[in-house]
Symmetry: D2
Subunit: 241 residues, 4 copies
Amino acid sequence: MTTPSHENPGLAKLKARLTEVWQEILSESRFVRIIQQGEISKALYALYMIETYHYTRHNARNQALVAIRTGSDDRHYQKFCFKHAEEEIGHEQMALHDVVSMGAPQGFSIPPPLAATEVLTGYLYWISYQGNPLQRLGYSYWAESCYEYIRPLMARVQKTLGLTAAQMTFFVAHADIDEDHSALVNEMISKKCQTPEDWEDVARVMETSLRLTWRMMDEVVDAHARLLAGQSERGAFLQAL
Amino acid sequence: MTTPSHENPGLAKLKARLTEVWQEILSESRFVRIIQQGEISKALYALYMIETYHYTRHNARNQALVAIRTGSDDRHYQKFCFKHAEEEIGHEQMALHDVVSMGAPQGFSIPPPLAATEVLTGYLYWISYQGNPLQRLGYSYWAESCYEYIRPLMARVQKTLGLTAAQMTFFVAHADIDEDHSALVNEMISKKCQTPEDWEDVARVMETSLRLTWRMMDEVVDAHARLLAGQSERGAFLQAL
Amino acid sequence: MTTPSHENPGLAKLKARLTEVWQEILSESRFVRIIQQGEISKALYALYMIETYHYTRHNARNQALVAIRTGSDDRHYQKFCFKHAEEEIGHEQMALHDVVSMGAPQGFSIPPPLAATEVLTGYLYWISYQGNPLQRLGYSYWAESCYEYIRPLMARVQKTLGLTAAQMTFFVAHADIDEDHSALVNEMISKKCQTPEDWEDVARVMETSLRLTWRMMDEVVDAHARLLAGQSERGAFLQAL
Amino acid sequence: MTTPSHENPGLAKLKARLTEVWQEILSESRFVRIIQQGEISKALYALYMIETYHYTRHNARNQALVAIRTGSDDRHYQKFCFKHAEEEIGHEQMALHDVVSMGAPQGFSIPPPLAATEVLTGYLYWISYQGNPLQRLGYSYWAESCYEYIRPLMARVQKTLGLTAAQMTFFVAHADIDEDHSALVNEMISKKCQTPEDWEDVARVMETSLRLTWRMMDEVVDAHARLLAGQSERGAFLQAL
């Protein structure tokens, strides 16, 4: 169960800021609009899952990087980072599984990441490698609690594409796993953030990484449009889904 | 003198793609529009110079990082990277100098980088740390040749703010230094890019890093607006310029 | 329980090579001889525990580093690395605890590492950062199973100094923890080493890191001699133990 | 010309400590003794050149690493590091050239580094990556000035093996290049070392890296003995030289 955010005024403020960004995304993202209008195709969803694969496979690594940095040690936080890293291993495989479950050949040739995905990935390494070690919690904060905001979208995708839960393992499995993670992340933020700077660093990384994810989603829409228009061969095999 | 791009069809194509992105920026960037309309203030220009300071101080480092990576060695390219890194050392000081020359106190307290600047910086480290070692040339390609595109803007800033050349050292000095660098970068790209993938990697990093710079410029406009509206204290002392 | 080494001919060979190196150490190390002759002092033992603290506090970090490296992914091995890293967190505190339990003031000022300890630490990072990702298992292989070889020495130290088990937590706790770890490490080596090169890389790191530990132990003897001779002030407060 | 060490008492002390370590090496190293007794063979010298190749090819990289570390910036020192890194690029090729000049086939298959060489290499990265950024100057200090100590040995090798200067480019070229470098390194140490800790850090890295080089030389003797005894195939083709 998620720690109620009213327990900690810092968390409540963080939650409010997160909700604002999500509201912006839910009303302005082109990818979201396509889902809401029931116009998502299997190819578009697969392209999105492929980008999800690309950044997710770095999550365990950049999470662990936080704890590898030398300097003054917070052993409790280091333990959290390594434990969380361990749990994140292999989650990207669920994204690939879901693409295959829609009909892509097992072991299909994965297109390289889009530029927006590289930007997101690079940012996550950068904020893990330097700066306030606590700041990466801002990414975990929204990533582990996003189901609250995107559940209706996922339901819409499932209905539009006629998918079973077994074809959406990335989201279904995460929704369960992440409820526990989310409580842990909230607890860690509450305990470790001591100064206004700590809270601001966590909030900035939360907002920035979520906005970069938004850009990634919308760049998937552009990549799909180029594919439909015959301007690109990237992921062309997905049109057969 | 810049190597004429017609010498190499790959360079000509790269140049064409660069020109397209610049045209987008020159017609759509909010920061550019403010300059073009003669509405830039010293505070806004100083805020921009401060972000310039922030990402520029990492340029030598991420440039050298390319050559530190172990793996198959291209000694000629490694030498270029270290030499270029050496030359980039301290360029960020020109940005600070220019802020001081407009009236900011010597040794003023530098506000932390904006989120968009951190995103750009993180991206430059990421593409230097992994992937095709040649790809960072895409960043150098536009950075060293940007004066061709931004000279009119710089002239407009100078006129609007009544600045002397000695108050715009970052741009004036770079315009000279970079003409030589630009020829070297063009030569390196022509010699080292052997495959379509090499050219595409260079082009993608060129376009992505330039677009991230655009976002940084426009985020400076937002930061300035928040300052004017009294919603932020970040860089408040710059209002006295 | 340790997986019997006869199950796997590679492990049996590794074990034989390990036993040879230990026999060399047990008969040639000056530190070992001092223990065997019942001449160890609290100051000497404390100096040794302090070096143990210094390299142990990097173990979790260099262990995790193996799994952070990008490249072809072995998720099973990555999971092992992060899990093991998590478990190693804080073990260096036992070394400090044991020094305090002998009478050093709580929070005593820790002298910087000896050169030999820096050499060992640097080596462990280097073999974790590059080369065959499996090779760090060679370090774990001897580190987790060393009690078989050093138990008589530890008993001798305990007797000579009149220590309780609660004053030797670093070794007592590890002897228990590491029996499980050791079985896991053996299993991982058996499963992952596929080629003669894999086995040789593991064996080389095993032997080299153990020999560097030997040098560290003997350098502790030298540091102690300098302290007794009044040639150094490093750790002078330990003479009061 | 080397800056006379009497100009700076710190340098004079460093020089005295260096001379002591060299005297130990010149009287105790087994590799040195073999040279002095006129018993070096082409195979043994080639094995030594191959290890020289292995650690030398990392020198530019770990030198640049010092300047890449984020943190408080000393631009003058950063510039020195990058410039020096640039100059070090490709020096390892001289070692390979010299092996070929004695009769090894062009492009011969280079055996992997010995354990002692990996230990030296790992140490140089470690002291470049963390700790006092000035400390790597301790390595440069002895490496750039070693000709003063080893010139008689090199002359002896040349005579014993009947080599021309063109077959000993690694040492002949370095003896010239490094006289200038050495003056620069001395100047940098004199200017940058401000505290007793700075001097001690430089001295410790000087002594430790030189002692690790000594171990590497003597491990080459062991590798050669194994080759002669038919216990190893490593570098077997060198016996034909």
